[in-house]
């Protein structure tokens, strides 16, 4: 029988948790991010005010989502662009694929877009014989390895330079001798320039959709987003419906906050604003411009008023970076498009609570994610709500439901609680004395596999209290 997503997660999590080499690579990467992030924060006078402002902007956008989406669409269409609304992943992917086929596209260059991962667009295009090139270096690397991105901002952070050099040697240029990151970048640049200049279509995501200006804002450091939007004759933007913001000037705070949270920079190197296809008299730029607005479960999340704010996410990756679970199991273990805390909160809404509830349980609820989220999403409390929703939907094991029913019966009957506690300590002490710790008879075996056993005192606190106070 095929393992469920939850079983796969447990297996991979156990493997990665024990992988000290992997842990060290991630540790170094995150230490580097921590240092940069601190520097970035120092540039902003009042970080809490910045967070509150960004939360306010996204709240306004989501609270009036239909109005702002329509305003955005109107502007884009007025300038000669086309807007297509896709209800789900399949529809979005089919639309773009059909469009590419209709327009005679043989090669596509892609600038980073998590939504295109979500709808499995590359696979759909490749099935039709269209070559797809990921142009973001990290995405390019994982594409060559046939794996998904490890992290939403730094897709290849789990690899070292040696592994990347070997990969390039094997897949691109057999003569590569250097594993210096600058030399490796040069190899990728050479290869991808061919693609930029021959591709008929570029597909990008959007960091923000600006309603009042009808602008698609795309931030990259590498310039791949720039080349994608300057050279090929067709530009397709694939974006979630929640990316909209009300005004162009909102970018004055969103851009620095996105960059600070994402990489520790003051602002991403290329903060691009695309207002449509090239205008008459312009010498370059796409002749045809399409925006695909993808729902795929987002309107459903919108309907959940308690969790609606999850749609405020600007995909900065800060919650992944700070999450101790992510730091120990890494991005691939989640097995979802979006890993980390935001992924754990979001995925049950996009892909179903029954299959993906385990992600909401795979957390110690430490709250670090919520404390760093630049738009103040209460992530860890949403994880808890997902847990509640899962049990209320009857999606948890009957044995667990029974256990907690019995637990509750004891907790409202002090005599039963006292008796149960005494008995548990007594039984465990006997069990351990018989050398059965860690065996299938040991109810604490999950604990004892990784830790020394818990203390089992002869007397509880209340027994001592009673004794001390009876003596008086």
């Amino acid at each position: 029988m095929n393992p469920t997503a939850a079983q796969r997660f447990l297996e991979n999590a156990a493997l990665k948790s024990a992988d000290l080499v992997h842990r060290e690579i991630i540790r170094r990467g995150m230490d580097s991010y921590d240092a940069a992030h601190l520097q970035g924060r120092a540039r902003i006078k009042d970080w809490e005010a910045a967070r509150a402002r960004c939360q306010e902007i996204k709240r306004e956008a989501i609270d009036h989502l239909d109005r702002y989406l329509l305003q955005f669409e109107e502007q884009v269409v007025a300038r000669g662009g086309q807007v297509y609304w896709a209800a789900n992943a399949q529809e979005a992917s089919s639309y773009v694929t059909d469009l590419a086929l209709r327009l005679g596209v043989r090669t596509v260059v892609k600038s980073k877009s998590m939504v295109t991962e979500e709808i499995h667009l590359s696979r759909a295009l490749e099935n039709e014989g269209i070559t797809v090139w990921e142009t973001d270096l990290g995405e390019f690397i994982v594409q060559l390895r046939n794996e998904g991105p490890y992290h939403i901002v730094t897709p290849a952070m789990h690899l070292n330079r040696g592994q990347i050099a070997n990969l390039f040697r094997e897949k691109l240029e057999p003569g590569i001798t250097s594993d210096d990151p600058a030399d490796l970048m040069a190899v990728a640049r050479r290869k991808l320039r061919e693609a930029f200049f021959t591709a008929e279509m570029a597909i990008s995501g959007a960091n923000f959709l600006v309603a009042d200006a009808g602008v698609v804002a795309i931030s990259t450091n590498e310039g791949n987003g720039r080349l994608c939007t300057s050279v090929p004759r067709i530009h397709v933007v694939v974006t979630g419906i929640e990316k909209v913001i009300p005004r162009l000037e909102d970018l004055a705070v969103l851009w620095p906050v996105l960059a600070t949270s994402g990489t520790g920079q003051g602002i991403t190197t290329y903060s691009t604003m695309i207002a449509g296809p090239r205008l008459p008299g312009e010498i370059d730029g796409a002749e045809q411009f399409y925006v695909v607005l993808v729902d795929n479960g987002r309107s459903q999340l919108l309907a959940d008023a308690e969790q609606r704010e999850v749609l405020h996410c600007i995909r900065c990756g800060a919650c992944l970076n700070i999450c101790p679970v992510f730091r120990h199991v890494g991005g691939h273990t989640y097995g979802t498009t979006y890993p980390g805390p935001i992924g754990s909160v979001l995925t049950p809404h996009l892909n179903g609570i029954r299959e993906f509830k385990h992600l909401s349980f795979a957390s110690s609820l430490c709250g670090a994610c919520s404390s760093v989220c630049p738009v103040k999403i209460d992530l860890h409390h949403h994880l808890l709500q997902n847990r509640r929703n899962a049990t209320e939907a009857g999606a948890t094991a009957w044995s667990e439901r029974l256990t907690f029913r019995m637990w509750r019966l004891a907790m409202v009957r002090p005599w039963l609680y006292v008796l149960g506690g005494w008995w548990m300590r007594r039984a465990l002490r006997m069990l351990y004395r018989l050398g059965l710790a860690g065996t299938v008879l040991d109810p604490m075996r999950a604990w004892n596999r990784h830790r020394g056993p818990v203390p089992l005192p002869a007397e509880s606190f209340r027994a001592r209290w009673r004794k001390d106070h009876a003596a008086k």
């Binding site: 709240r59 952070m157 990347i164 640049r189 300057s230 705070v253 920079q265 903060s271 609606r308």
Partner: protein
């Protein structure tokens, strides 16, 4: 909904039934309000970014931080001299230059040894070694240049390994908020299909988080900033 808007809605949903479906879902969802924000939103009195009192100094500091080469020049002639110096430091190959009268005069003064392709002739060629353009605005807060499609097109600021910007101090604004407000006021994005805030050379840290300059865009961004006309 007003009559004409309704007509447009019906018209645009024709080939795209999901449009109505999604809009319907959104409107239905928004009938329920989300809980009030637990802490009050930032009162408008709180200042997010430190006000910038010396934009020129700040611009130069930020350029150093984001690896932009910023050269202050006193007049047109010294600007041309600096341009000549930078061009001489670059490998041989075509230069793509925005077709503007000031740039034409500037380039002429450098007595260029390389072939020049002007933006009026078309888009920059893939093998360009250097591009020279004007900018719309300079932004002190982040050490950025704002370019639009009118600054030699979209590719001019990304195709070649070196991008040189010629600007004057009069173009400098303190912060992003001012620059973005100006885009709106001057309706720049109605008249041009593209604009970009560029803050440094192209870079990546995708390999071991080590910063590498010159990913897909220019390795060198040079700003020749003339302080007087």
């Amino acid at each position: 909904m007003p009559q004409n808007k309704q007509a447009r809605t019906e018209k645009t949903s024709a080939g795209n039934p999901s449009r109505d479906l999604i809009l319907g879902r959104i409107r239905q969802a928004l009938l329920t309000s989300a809980p009030e924000l637990s802490a009050p939103a930032a009162p408008s009195g709180r200042v997010i970014f430190e006000p910038i009192h010396n934009p020129l100094e700040r611009f130069q500091q930020e350029c150093i931080a984001n690896l932009t080469e910023c050269a202050l020049t006193t007049d047109f002639v010294s600007s041309a001299q600096h341009l000549a110096k930078v061009l001489a430091s670059l490998p041989a190959g075509e230069a793509f230059v925005q077709d503007d009268s000031a740039l034409r005069r500037l380039v002429e003064l450098t007595s260029p040894a390389r072939s020049i392709r002007w933006s009026s002739e078309g888009a920059p060629r893939e093998a360009s070694q250097v591009t020279v353009t004007l900018a719309e605005t300079l932004i002190a807060q982040t050490g950025s240049i704002l370019v639009s499609a009118s600054c030699g097109g979209r590719g001019a600021s990304v195709i070649a390994p070196c991008h040189i910007v010629y600007a004057t101090v009069a173009q400098l604004v303190p912060d992003l908020a001012t620059a973005l407000a100006r885009i709106g006021q001057e309706r720049k994005l109605d008249r041009h299909s593209f604009a970009c805030v560029i803050s440094g050379s192209s870079r990546t840290a995708d390999i071991e988080k080590i910063l590498v300059q010159g990913a897909h865009g220019p390795r060198r961004l040079v700003v020749i900033l003339q302080v007087a006309l």
